[in-house]
Amino acid sequence: MFRYESLEDCPLDEDEDAFQGLGEEDEEIDQFNDDTFGSGAVDDDWQEAHERLAELEEKLPAAVNEQTGNGERDEMDLLGDHEENLAERLSKMVIENELEDPAIMTAVQTRPVLQPQPGSLNSSIWDGSEVLRRIRGPLLAQEMPAVSVLEYALPQRTPQAPEDDRDLSERALPRRSTSPVIGSPPVRAVPIGTPPKQMAVPSFNQQILCPKPVHVRPPMPPRYPAPYGERMSPNQLCSVPNSSLLGHPFPPSVPPVLSPLQRAQLLGGAQLQPGRMSPSQFARVPGFVGSPLAAAMNPKLLQGRVGQMLPPAPGFRAFFSAPPPATPPPPQQHPPGPGPHLQNLRSQAPMFRPDTTHLHPQHRRLLHQRQQQNRNQHRNLNGAGDRGSHRSSHHDHLRKDPYANLMLQREKDWVSKIQMMQLQSTDPYLDDFYYQNYFEKLEKLSAAEEVQGDGPKKERTKLITPQVAKLEHTYKPVQFEGSLGKLTVSSVNNPRKMIDAVVTSRSEDDETKEKQVRDKRRKTLVIIEKTYSLLLDVEDYERRYLLSLEEERPALMEERKHKICSMYDNLRGKLPGQERPSDDHFVQIMCIRKGKRMVARILPFLSTEQAADILMTTARSLPFLIKKDAQDEVLPCLLSPFSLLVYHLPSVTVTSLLQQLMNLPQSAAAPAPSNPHLTAVLQNKFGLSLLLVVLSRGEDLQSSDPAAESTQNNQWTEVMFTATQELLRIPQAALAKPLSIPTNLVSLFSRYVDRQKLNLLETKLQLVQGIR
């Protein structure tokens, strides 16, 4: 606790005092609180001192209109025996205030103070600072011009016109920034976590302790807060580095003996208190309530902003000179006063913070526009502008919300800037694919709409993310000067091996079957993932091609080809022998849903032979695949790429493909009684559709090329015969519904079967349009 006798002592002095007081005590006890164990407890009774203070302040409300003399004396008493310096300063301070208004000085002490908890440090700190404030306030404004905003969660504001519009970000950055690039919230002279100045008004206390769920207006009926925009948050008030009072009556030689904490508290104490109201409020409140508030405000004003100071002050005086005014001047009178001054200020202030330069120029422009819009908005609100019910109700709330704008504009910009920085990307297409695509689509849509309709172009605000050039960073390991040899420093770029982990591959024997299966599946999944990455790259080549330079293009093409080959190898399994050893690898991939989808996407990129190979493999193992696909039902996605492929296949391939599909015996020897392969194919949507596609293609080939080679023709005819036989055998009920039915199948079958059977086939396969 600060003892009033030693107000101006710095903490160092206090320690000395403690030492003197506790000379013979243990060293341990020296560290203890002076007040509890030392001279403070013995010599000084803080409770008494506090009671003195409390009495004092109870007395004062009755003495509002007393002259400053009283106040002076009281103040002197409060301080007890102080040094001459202090007395000097005090008297000067009093003189200074007298110039402004005698009533103000007394009124300051009127503020009731919360009852301190016994033994709490806080109360005394704040008490002390109250007194100190009056002395130190203007001093500090001069002494610490460069200290940035001191943040206090005080709800009230002074009626300092639409200053909060003026973006504080335009001010120079605080000296100390936590990050080199972006600004940070201003340095706190008060350690983070210090409670704000106590709420003086009891009603406010209640509000804090038991807030109602809905927004409670401060329960002070005569309270008419200044219109939104006029009020400046307490934070902003403190932030003025240059005060018109720099030409200060106090000699600069006055030593700042206070610790930074005390200093901060003073400044904080010099802040507005919740009990204060704007002059507009004050104007409507008679006498007692008004004057202390205005008085409390005045020292604040002394520190106030350039250009804002003088207009309000005379305004105040006007209020004071006629207390209480019969017809309170409307709040709107206020803004015109400081308005022109502010205008001047604004035009002079630099428009951009130096640290916004790293933003994209368009973003900076947007920020600037936004600021101007805000100002316009607030100017409108100050008048009688009604901007729609929703808006006005919102601003209504804001107007009456004494806690609004706790977060400064500057801080909002800071957060905004961080978020923008997070959006910085060297390759937005890569990092933010979906966002980019979405907005491209939107723009195309709107452009298309625009072309069609001649409506006014809808201005869609677009987020312009900062563009950052890609920089090559070569890692240089840290080198120590003067060290013998090279010291290795382990860092994220230069990791050191911490654990000696040896990879042991499991032997096949001692694993159970399940594990083997699981491992195999896992391997397949990994292969699918790798191939998918390749696929995405390949699909992206078109875009890269367009963006690239001429010289780079051949290289790009090479890369693309190479990747396609790798994809194919992955699909079919590497290490090809003379012939693909087994379809197993491919079948495994095809058993997995993602694998099937991937194959569908890869097919367009493969060459015809490769694709045909894939198709054949699929046809061979189709029943198995169908069985595995029962749950996923993804096979139909393969139909369209396969169809496309089939229409490019030569006759030979088509024939063999058909054979594979229907599992027709090579020789036209005795046909098997049942053909489960074909049955399975026919019972599946995909299978049947594929079959029909193949048949259709065959028909196309036949009809388009009558002079085709006879061998091929013969083969085809044979296969067709067998095929039709099989088809006739299958009961209709077992057939699936194909995805699409080619139109030329009727003519196809008509070649190979007679009328009767043709009809049968037609009905069975529902080849005729009418039958569905």
Binding site: P211, V214, S393, Y403, M407, Q419, Q422, Y435
Partner: protein
């Protein structure tokens, strides 16, 4: 003014009344006063609202500072529509009692279920002992 069009940002939500759902299941209602880049929130005049069935109770909590990672979702409360709810507000004691009762019934049901499974020789796997694929 839209700070960052096309993005989600809390800046426009400042000084408005919000309902915040936390990861531990609590529902807070308060005025959003300040944010930062991690979506840490400062809520003012906060009230913790407990819902049980059709009733709810409010516990005034004062100022809350919520670490961003603990927020599940938050949304602005329309002050005009706020009172337009079919729910019934009750006192704090009552709602706490209701909550306790609900908790108890749930625990008992859970116990019965576990017992029934045990009787049949089955056991519900605990989340922390589940095998990976």
């Amino acid at each position: 003014m839209n700070y960052m069009p096309g993005t989600a940002s809390l800046i426009e939500d400042i000084d408005k009344k919000h309902l915040v759902l936390l990861r531990d299941g609590r529902t807070l209602i308060g005025f959003l006063r300040s944010i930062d880049q991690f979506a840490n929130l400062v809520l003012h005049q906060t009230v913790e609202r407990i819902h049980v069935g059709k009733k709810y109770g409010d516990i005034p909590r004062g100022i809350f500072v919520v670490r961003g990672e603990n927020v599940v979702l938050l949304g602005e409360i329309d002050l005009e529509k706020e009172s337009d709810t079919p729910l019934q507000q009750v006192s704090i004691e009552e709602i706490l009692e209701e909550q306790r009762v609900e908790q108890q019934t749930r625990l008992e049901a859970e116990k019965l279920k576990v017992q029934a499974l045990k009787d049949r020789g089955l056991s519900l796997p605990r989340a922390d002992t589940l095998d990976e694929y």
